[in-house]
Amino acid sequence: MKTVIKTTNLSKVYKDSVVPVHALKNVNLEFSQGEFTAIVGPSGSGKTTFLNIIGGLDKPTDGHVIIDGVDIATMKESQLFDFRLRHIGFVFQAYNLIPVLTALENVSFIMLLQKQSKQEMEKRARAMLEQVGLGDKINERPGRLSGGQQQRVAVARALASKPDFVLADEPTANLDTESAFNLLDIMARLNKEENITLIFSTHDQRVIERARRVITLVDGAVDKDEYFERA
């Protein structure tokens, strides 16, 4: 299976405080195309730092992050903006949709930044909203959608631009059980149908039970890396 992300000796030290904080220590991991991975660990274990670095939102103090054959740790900030736009999909904990845009416009937005044609953009955005079960809500603004619906729009947005992988930072944290299961069903289906690589950071047992790979971080280092067979 094709390797999508490879990290080598990835370390991150925050020197802002009096005592340097080692958020990540020599993390060596590979993620293959189509994996559904949960990164778990207690608060402060380095989950978010790890996601930020492989998502090009933060830079490692040491080590390499190879994505699509390119070491993004050495990229300039302006190159990272473009890289994120073309290769990575993001789903955030607090939905984070643009409140002044409709569901359809929110999903189209990244494709617009990618300068896709209007017809192509709209077709894909409609299809993605259909896929997440919001075909009848395309013209609604986020304020008129429930938390679960908003997060499904966020998933549609992350996937619409056909990224190499999707990073989801605790996407179910603010959802009730029904909405969380609904979202996880959709993500699991898209993972299978579109062979999308999904990497979650989570505390949520419901997510962990769906993941086929669970990586446990403790004090910035990989403690366990387990694979599971799921239906």
Binding site: D58, S78, L85, F90, F92, N96, E105, S108
Partner: protein
């Protein structure tokens, strides 16, 4: 899409945006109104001064400037005025016999400028005949030569229409002579000083008295295009080197100064008003940026370049200012147009004293159309300047931190 997002962002907090738009509209209306009042008053004074008092260009014997007496005449003045009138750039040139003298009634005396006019050409050059509100303008042939004086001067001398009055002046030899006139007309105008210090008689009457029937001490020239006064004066000076040719800006440097700096001064005044309001705009946009930290973080996290985010904030500010600016300028234009037709009567506010300074007591506010264009440019420039700080704050956000902000 960027325009769509910016537009919708403005209306996200309707009340806040409306408050700043109303502030911009009121600020602009206040500023434009005061500018239009000032400009209207100055334009009126300029028009009065040029049309009734000094014309575009005046020609004198060089000695006359320091000693306005009948001795210092323009040689061949009538022919010269006739020649000048035929120039294409000239509407009319009128010869005058004008000099300083003394006017006396039974009770009082005062110094005046005696303006002896050629009725036919004077009527084309100035509108003085239209200022006469009682009697006639030197067209009545009586036993005594006629004279038209200002209402204020008549009150000061305690005379009225038909009264006999004496002028004392020097003839062409420097000898002092006195002559009697009858008040044939009374005029009034916006400038009290002109009204009190100028009397009109016929040049032919005056010339007979001073001993030179062809005397001309002043030629007033009115141009077809008032903007070409410098060029026209220079050409006349070259053609007639023996006389002193002066344009209105040289004759009345104060008026020139006022007119030249006025427009710029008013732009500065508006600039200060808009600058004040711009701080309100800046505050509004800054608040909106600080309320959207997480959202801006997401935009940058998903790949929206900082330059786009910067552009979006600038666009929001500019749009907000353009909305307020357009409404404000349209309302100001309508207000100024309405008041221009109606006039603002300052007399009720004690504005009659304005006549002391040559201003009309009823002001017709007005502004050149170019002024509105300048203000529009100032609004856009200040809007962009006001957006820089909020936009800079927005692009300084670190996406990884901003997306987690509560």
């Amino acid at each position: 899409m960027l325009i769509k997002i910016s537009w919708r962002n403005i209306w996200r907090n309707r009340t806040r945006s409306l408050v700043i738009i109303v502030a911009l509209v009121i600020g602009l209306m206040g500023g434009v109104f005061s500018a239009a009042m000032r400009f209207g008053a100055e334009a009126q004074q300029f028009e009065d001064t040029i049309e009734y008092q000094i014309s575009h260009i005046q020609i004198h014997n060089p000695e006359f400037i320091a000693n306005p007496e009948a001795r210092f005449r323009v040689e061949g003045g009538f022919e010269m005025a006739d020649e000048i009138s035929k120039r294409p750039e000239v509407l009319v040139a009128t010869p005058r016999t004008a000099f300083d003298g003394m006017i006396s009634s039974a009770s009082k005396s005062t110094g005046v400028r005696i303006r002896g006019i050629d009725q036919e050409t004077e009527a084309l050059a100035t509108k003085t005949d239209q200022l006469v509100f009682e009697g006639s303008f030197l067209d009545d042939s009586g036993r005594l030569p006629g004279m038209v004086i200002g209402q204020d001067l008549a009150q000061m001398l305690n005379v009225r229409l038909g009264s006999r009055i004496v002028l004392t002046f020097q003839d062409i030899y420097g000898e002092v002579i006195s002559a009697s006139f009858r008040i044939e007309g009374l005029f009034t105008m916006n400038s009290r000083s002109f009204e009190e210090s100028t009397v009109f008689v016929l040049a032919s009457d005056l010339n007979e008295m001073i001993g030179d029937p062809l005397a001309v001490t002043e030629i007033a020239v009115v141009l077809n295009d008032h903007n070409k006064y410098r060029e026209a004066a220079s050409n006349l000076q070259q053609t007639y080197p023996s006389v002193e040719v002066r344009h209105w800006a040289e004759i009345s440097p104060h008026l020139y100064f006022v007119m030249e700096i006025l427009q710029q001064g008013l732009i500065w005044l508006m600039g200060i008003v808009i600058l004040g309001v711009s701080f309100g705009v800046l505050n509004t946009i800054l608040m909106s940026v600080l309320e959207r930290v997480r959202e801006l973080g997401v935009l940058m996290a998903v790949g929206m370049k900082r330059s786009w985010v910067f552009g979006m904030i600038v666009l929001e500010t500019t749009m907000l200012s353009i909305i307020g600016g357009s409404i404000g300028l349209t309302a100001s234009y309508l207000l100024v147009s309405f008041l221009n037709k109606r006039g603002v009567d300052m007399a009720t506010a004690g504005g009659d004293g304005l006549r002391e300074y040559g201003y009309a007591s009823v002001i017709h506010p007005q502004l050149e159309p170019i002024f509105y264009l300048h203000i529009s440019i100032v609004i856009i420039v200040f809007a962009i300047l006001a957006s820089l700080y909020p936009a800079w704050k927005a692009i300084r956000l670190v996406p990884a931190e901003a997306v987690r902000q509560e």
